[in-house]
Point group: none
Chain length 168, copies 2
DNA sequence: CTTGATTCCATTGACGCCCAAGATATCCCA
DNA sequence: TGGGATATCTTGGGCGTCAATGGAATCAAG
């Protein structure tokens, strides 16, 4: 597989090292990026991490803004300016900087969360809360999709989100 | 036969392994996906499982949202973040993670329920209850349909609720 | 020389893979 | 049509491999 999926929780050892989940390492290896590209989440207390795919997305996003524009400068500062390229040791472990750990509230345990082309790093407790909210929001979203489905096509989307036909 | 139909109940062994029903395995093999893609149902205490067909549906849904949008993040968190790609052993068995089992209330027995392009995994008792309610609702729906005329879509629901009868 | 960082090595436990057997349904043939 | 042989499927268990983790050793830099 070439996408980050699922979530894993690992512990930091006394030196602050933590193993990148093996499935994620496999994706990174396939991606061909040396090391791990990481930046603090823009709005969430989490870290965004990945390889070339993530970099490409960030660049694409910046490209959409005119050069020298204020927005682009801000975005560039927030994304590129705070990014770090972490080294991965032979066992597949990385060490997050204090700045990164502070941003995500990480202490001795972290949860890696797959997001397709990238993955996030959360403090486990915070992730649980975030997941609860995400589920609630998606349920809302699904309802709306189901309603608009009467016009003909979006019905498929609604289908994918409704486990049981009735939702009961 | 390229769709998941009917339902089967199997037992977990002492290692937590359970056989995917042979007919479902055949569909998966035809689908060409390595392993089994699984994610917790958003509303129901059940698991959604499948192969490329299910994955494609989820990806298509995500594609409709712009990167870095809040909606996409939530959707990605709820779907990709909680999905797992389970390995299927040579005998056609899988092992559900604790998180998945907890979500569906699975202990030592599971019921696989065909839903066309995907299938669900339920704790047998809960499925019975779900089926009862689904049937009741369909009866309700039929009455209203007969009265007010067709609005178009709910028919699908009826199909997915009669495992053995229709699709086979 | 001291301190921090990186690499190497060892342990533990989980997971995947192999082989085996019981049970059931299917098919063939008398 | 009945009986037996056969194939398939589910379930059970043993074993090897790999991943996560902890600690020691080596290297670099101040």
């Amino acid at each position: 597989m070439d996408r980050f999926v699922s979530n894993f929780t690992n512990r930091l050892d006394s030196k602050g090292r933590v193993s990148i989940p093996a499935p994620f390492r496999a994706v990174l290896a396939r991606d061909g990026f040396e090391g791990l590209y990481v930046h603090p989440g823009l709005d969430a207390p989490a870290l965004d991490a990945g390889g070339n795919a993530l970099l490409a997305e960030i660049n694409a996003l910046l490209e959409t803004l005119s050069p020298y524009s204020e927005e682009r400068d801000f975005l560039s500062t927030a994304l590129l300016g705070t990014s770090e390229i972490l080294k991965v040791d032979p066992e597949g472990r990385v060490t997050f900087s204090d700045a990164l750990k502070a941003h995500a509230g990480i202490t001795d345990t972290v949860t890696f969360v797959g997001h397709g082309h990238k993955f996030q790093v959360w403090e486990p407790e915070r992730f649980r809360a975030h997941l609860d909210e995400a589920r609630a929001r998606v349920r809302e979203l699904k309802k709306n999709l189901g309603r608009s489905g009467a016009n003909g096509s979006p019905v498929r989307s609604a289908t994918s989100l409704s486990p049981g036909a009735s939702g009961a």
